[in-house]
């Protein structure tokens, strides 16, 4: 079966700094992949490259068999490859439900599908656990936990096949994180989503991811299931420095 997302030989430099180097990755439909690595490894840059916010210097990205390397972000999102952002970026001066409604009017949907947007937006918010009165509050006044869910709702409304989550647990406390994990699991099952998750909170990530990809200095240094990665000496060295071998998660 052709992988739903294929990254071949991706390269990106900023002046003298190599952000992504010779990156290869294949993701099958329905997989949940964790993307980890120390800060500055190039994970978010990779997301930017995949979703069209940055143009790679060389390499190809294939989504559902089509070459999306040079496409604009909105086109890629409308094909079913959607992302969230590392720092929450709500449409601040718009209500939560308006935030979600925007995506309903994208070119992804045909005219008939745009008939009942208010209800659809309302329901999508319900799915991520946002109900009135929060539904009708300004996005800027939502708590951090709700804001993260709003981000996910905004992505969901585009009915994606592949969802790139950039640090979805960022800034969440232990309790909130514990509540978010089953939500993500549920959504993934209900919509048969393929997920790539950048995350530093290992405990939560391990509960979700079946496969881990490790990046350092822009390169992929390891790929495998959680156990393999935890015992991989290169990974330990990347996080803990030399002599950190023997520490498993």
């Amino acid at each position: 079966m052709t992988p739903i997302l294929e990254i071949k030989n991706l390269n990106k430099r900023f002046g003298g700094i190599t952000a992504v180097k010779d990156f290869d990755l294949q993701i099958e439909k329905g997989e949940i992949v964790g993307l980890i690595g120390p800060n500055g490894a190039g994970k978010t840059t990779l997301f930017n490259l995949i979703t069209g916010f940055l143009k790679p210097d060389s390499g190809t990205i294939l989504f559902k068999g089509k070459n999306i390397t040079k496409l604009k972000p909105h086109k890629i999102a409308n094909m079913g490859l959607v992302r969230t952002f590392q720092l929450i970026k709500p449409f601040k001066r718009m209500l939560a439900i308006e935030n979600v409604a925007v995506g309903c009017y994208s070119d992804r949907f045909k005219k008939e599908q745009k008939a009942d947007v208010p209800q659809k937006a309302f329901n999508t918010l319900k799915r991520v656990g946002i109900n009135p009165p929060e539904t009708f509050k300004f996005a800027s006044s939502l708590s951090h936990g709700y804001s993260r869910r709003l981000d996910i709702a905004r992505a969901l409304v585009l009915e994606p096949d592949v969802l790139l989550l950039d640090e979805p647990f960022g800034g969440l406390g232990t309790k909130e994180s514990k509540l978010l994990t089953p939500l993500i699991k549920k959504l993934q099952k209900e919509d048969d989503l393929t997920l790539i998750i950048i995350e530093h909170k290992m405990r939560q990530l391990m509960k979700l991811a079946e496969k881990l990809v490790v990046m350092q200095f822009g390169e992929k240094i390891a790929e495998g299931n959680c156990k393999e990665i935890a015992n991989d000496p290169k990974v330990c060295e990347a996080y803990l420095g030399r002599g950190g071998n023997g520490y498993s998660s």
């Binding site: 979703t51 916010f53 604009k72 972000p73 909105h74 999102a77 409308n78 959607v82 992302r83 952002f85 970026k89 709500p90 449409f91 601040k92 001066r93 718009m94 209500l95 439900i97 308006e98 935030n99 409604a101 925007v102 995506g103 009017y105 994208s106 070119d107 992804r108 745009k114 947007v117 208010p118 209800q119 937006a121 309302f122 009135p132 009708f136 905004r154 585009l158």
Partner: protein, 332 residues
């Protein structure tokens, strides 16, 4: 799900106030036939449409520019030219001016897509100057420094002209407010809040930005055409600082992003401006002072301040009305 029957029109305080104001505006000439006051109101109506056009690109869609006067002036010149040389009546030249405004809007919109904020600001600041320079270079076409004069008026009767301006203002506001509360307005606002995220949400920001520029140009052009015929003249000084500032000032003073705020801003400031007409120098200082005070102390604008103070609900997306009329069923 139970359907609640809500009337199509509510007796909210906001609607009552608007209705009263509307009646006042329509009935005004019947009460007072003062020529001067009607003139002020005509200027106020033109100014409102002009300011609202800027508000659409800047306040609603987040595309700030100093170049609104380009649409106003170009449309004005086209209207005047057609009227002078081909004898077309204002009924034709004003819409054609509006169409030229759309074109100008798209032409200005294109560089705004590629240029980063400060650079686009510089360009929009310089362009009106360049345009007036071009006008000086072709006096046979444009009348040079004296401009085009002796144009047909809207009407010889000031009352009719007033009603024409009122009609133009009301229709423009109606259309622009409809746009603001529609899905288009929703997308525009998302572009203002965060254009990158809007892109990530599947919105073709290029298409919508150009749409905003086009609509903005249309209304600025109509305002420009109307004013040209109302004054029966147009000259290159229309591209000067005063008109460049005016749209921005009226819109921000009234309330950026609200569209309707431009009406309040225009009415108040036009009246203020005319009251101080005794010393013509004072217009520039007045604009400068009001601009500075507004930005420092009242950046939300008069209309929004008013609405927050008196708890009037600010209009947002019309989709909300649909949800509120059919309340959700907590068990579904």
């Amino acid at each position: 799900m139970t359907k609640v029957n809500k009337p199509k029109w509510e007796f909210s305080s906001k609607n009552v106030i608007f209705l009263l104001l509307l009646i006042l505006l329509i009935g005004f000439p019947l009460i007072s036939s003062g020529y001067y006051i009607l003139l002020i109101l005509i200027f106020a109506n033109v100014g409102a449409v002009y300011a609202a056009s800027w508000d659409l690109t800047a306040g609603v869609t987040g595309q700030f520019s100093f170049g609104q006067v380009l649409f106003f002036g170009i449309a004005g010149y086209v209207s005047g030219y057609l009227n002078l040389n081909y004898g077309l009546s204002p009924l034709l030249t004003i819409p054609i001016g509006g169409a030229m405004g759309v074109l100008a809007g798209l032409i200005v919109g294109l560089p705004s897509l590629r240029l980063k904020g400060p650079y686009f600001m510089i360009v929009s600041l310089i362009f009106p100057g360049i345009l007036s320079g071009i006008i000086f270079m072709y006096p046979e076409l444009t009348g040079g420094e004296t401009g085009l004069y002796g144009l047909s008026p809207i009407s010889d009767n000031i009352v009719i002209t007033y009603y024409a301006s009122l009609f133009m203002m009301l229709i423009s506001m109606f259309i622009l407010l409809k746009i603001l509360s529609s899905r288009i307005g929703l997308v525009f606002r998302s572009i203002r809040e965060d254009p990158d995220v809007a892109e990530a949400t599947g919105i073709n920001t290029t298409k919508y930005k150009l749409l905003a520029w086009g609509i903005s140009g249309l209304f600025a052009g109509i305002a420009g055409g109307f004013q040209t015929h109302q004054l029966m003249t147009i000259n290159p000084f229309v591209f000067g600082a005063v008109y460049s500032f005016q749209a921005i000032l009226y819109a921000i003073f009234g309330g950026a992003g609200t569209i309707i705020g431009s009406v309040a801003g225009s009415y108040i400031l036009t009246t203020l401006n005319e009251l101080l007409r005794y010393i013509t120098d004072l217009r520039a200082i007045l604009y400068a002072v009001v601009m500075i005070i507004t930005f420092l102390f009242l950046p939300m604008g008069i209309y929004r301040w008013f609405a927050v103070k008196f708890n009037i609900e600010l209009g947002t997306w019309n989709g909300l009305k649909k949800l509120r009329r059919e309340p959700y069923d907590p068990d579904s």
